[in-house]
């Protein structure tokens, strides 16, 4: 399913934090949203999974405005993995994953065999089937994220929206999580801090700065030394990754970018 964000504007407490953003993700594409802190990445994503209402502009799923769907209908198309991290309420891994069926169930309906099959499959896809009975709060950060991804899979969405899914994870867990996105590919919108991860995982990148899109395209087109200096304020060289051939950003960690960017 194709996702379009058209001329999106969002105002929070009287301040416009997203001003006229155009984005899209083609069917089955993994699209990254990158940008400095406060550039509006999370805000854009929140309008896609309907936590925030845009002051103007539209979010379209195959051309249909998500605001014209009911919340339940929208949740059958779009699943979100926000930055919220869990709870202290004694929920088991399976119970957390089962929440993904919420938009499909009426008030008093229990789980049917179909629900169980979907939940089991999702747990297997993220490699957590053996941990179904464990308490969610006893999991490590990497395990939690995989369980939350399984919950999103259980929603059987056409579009997956993830807000910094690799935050606070060690490198191995970052790689595991991102490879799951590629393995079970569907239209994906993901905000990422790690530009090298974005360069190797995403088919397309949109760079946000100050609530506006400043560059869009393939990682190779977008991630240049000039852009990194201007938007992120860092000195970096972009080279080819010796193992994968993806763009690899080599940062100069000793000093921020000077006025004249170097490539």
């Amino acid at each position: 399913m194709r996702l379009d964000v058209e001329d999106l504007r969002v105002t929070l407490s009287g301040r416009e934090v997203v001003s006229g953003v155009h984005l899209f993700a083609g069917d089955g594409e993994i699209v990254g949203l990158v940008g400095p802190n406060g550039s509006g990445k999370s805000t854009v994503l929140r309008t896609v999974y309907r936590h925030l209402r845009p002051s103007s502009g539209r979010v379209l799923l195959d051309g249909d405005d998500v605001r014209e769907l009911t919340a339940r209908q929208a949740a059958r198309h779009v699943a979100a993995l926000p930055q919220e991290r869990g709870t202290d309420f004694e929920l088991s891994v399976r119970e957390v994953v089962a929440m993904g069926r919420t938009p499909y169930k009426s008030a008093f309906a229990g789980e049917d065999p179909e629900d169980r099959r979907i939940i089991t499959t999702a747990l297997e896809q993220v490699g957590m089937a053996a941990d179904a009975g464990r308490g969610f709060s006893t999991l490590s950060g990497g395990e939690r994220q995989r369980v939350l991804l399984a919950r999103a899979f259980t929603q059987q969405p056409d579009v997956l929206v993830l807000d910094e899914p690799t935050n606070h994870l060690d490198v191995r867990h970052q790689v595991e999580l991102l490879s799951l996105l590629r393995e079970h590919r569907r239209t994906t919108f993901v905000a990422l801090h790690d530009l090298n991860a974005a360069a190797s995982v995403c088919d397309r990148l949109h760079v946000l700065d100050n609530g506006a899109v400043v560059a869009s395209g393939t990682p190779r087109e977008v991630l240049t030394g000039e852009l990194l200096a201007e938007v992120f304020g860092v000195r970096a060289a972009v080279v080819d990754h010796p193992l994968t051939g993806d763009p690899l950003i080599a940062f100069d960690h000793r000093a921020p970018a000077t006025a004249v960017p170097l490539t």
Binding site: H51, T87, A129
Partner: protein, 351 residues
């Protein structure tokens, strides 16, 4: 080593919850019998059931006073204890999910204080004089509960943020303030008899139980219980956070509003019939979560049953612990509840 398949896992936890519920239902029946049997004059269990049977089949009551004691005094009281306990269990569970804080309870959050103030104002200004099966009193308590809950919530959310600590502090602060006004109102009433009555009731008291008083709380417990059960998936989603809930297709604002009204309504009705009974709403969901887990589809019915069992038992203790007089139920729940709260705090700090 065999690994349980997820399917088996769900089945076992559902079966477990079913067994727990069945055990609690049996325990409730046994305790209700004991509660009717014990008192200033003990009535043997056989006679209790015989008296209830005669009443239900319309047979003539046996000679003597025991049928009257059983049917007019003790059965309604035991049933009121069960209803109030079930209601407190439900309210506690819902409020904890609503504010995403396992230490929340209508008493700690000042909701009960608001309800008490409403009820006392109704008594003092004469609006609650038993009319309409106590609807006047319940209505005033409901309004008080809703206002205080909204006030606490607004204070806790001020500035957009939302911290559990701020919520509890706001609840305690506003609760104290409202209790102050309540005390002032009570002292203003010249009638000493009435003052003593109101104070005793404020401490949590089931002594006013009679058949005519049961209708409103029974309706409230059943209706709010059904509403909460129908929102069980929404409550689960709220535990993970508002954004997650929105992403799962839940209208969070509307769900919150429903829960606010429903929990305030039930708290108001409960306070109107039994005063402010503390700690039950805190303890019951906690204990039940440890046994059947946090999924509200299972947690809500089990919490209602356990609340009923607990309060029937507490009321037996309250009635029989002292030879000379009855203890307010709230005193007994405080004796059990305060140490439990401290234990839970300690356990959470260790995490």
């Amino acid at each position: 080593m065999a690994v349980l398949s997820p399917r088996r896992e769900r089945d076992t936890s559902a079966v477990r919850a079913g067994l727990v519920a069945a055990a609690l239902a049996v325990a409730l029946l046994v305790l209700l019998t004991v509660a009717v049997s014990l008192g200033s004059s003990n009535i043997p269990v056989g006679q209790v059931w015989a008296a209830v049977g005669r009443k239900l089949t319309g047979a003539a009551p046996a000679a003597g006073t025991s049928d009257v004691i059983v049917w007019q005094l003790r059965v309604p009281r035991a049933l009121l204890a069960a209803l109030v306990g079930a209601g407190l269990g439900l309210v506690g569970t819902a409020v904890q999910a609503l504010v995403r804080n396992p230490l929340a309870d209508p008493y700690l959050l000042g909701i009960s204080s608001g309800a008490s103030l409403g009820a006392v104002a109704a008594i003092v200004f004469g609006a609650g004089a038993g009319g309409l099966l106590g609807l006047g009193l319940s209505g005033a308590a409901f309004v008080g509960a809703l206002l205080s809950f909204s006030l606490v919530w607004t204070m806790a959310r001020r500035g957009g943020g939302f911290s559990p600590l701020r919520l509890v502090l706001a609840g305690v602060g506003i609760g104290q303030f409202l209790s102050g006004i309540t005390s002032f109102l009570v002292l203003q009433t010249a009638d000493e008899q009435q003052t003593r009555g109101v104070l005793f009731w404020l401490m949590g008291n089931l002594g006013g139980a009679k058949w005519s008083l049961l209708t409103v709380p029974a309706l409230a417990v059943v209706l709010v219980g059904l509403l909460l059960q129908s929102r069980a998936r929404g409550l689960n989603a709220l535990l993970m956070g508002d954004e997650t809930a929105a992403g799962l297709g839940i209208d969070v604002t509307r769900l919150r509003r429903e829960l606010f009204v429903a929990t305030s309504l039930l708290t108001g009705v409960l306070v109107a019939v039994s005063g402010a009974i503390g700690f039950v709403g805190l303890m019951v969901p906690h204990v039940c979560r440890l046994v059947v887990g946090g999924d509200h589809r299972r947690l809500l019915p089990v919490a209602a049953l356990f609340g009923a069992v607990l309060l029937v038992a507490v009321d037996v203790v309250a009635r029989t612990a002292l030879e000379t007089q009855e203890l307010p139920v709230g005193v007994v729940t405080a004796f059990i509840g305060a140490p439990t709260l401290l234990y839970l705090l300690d356990r959470r700090l260790e995490k």
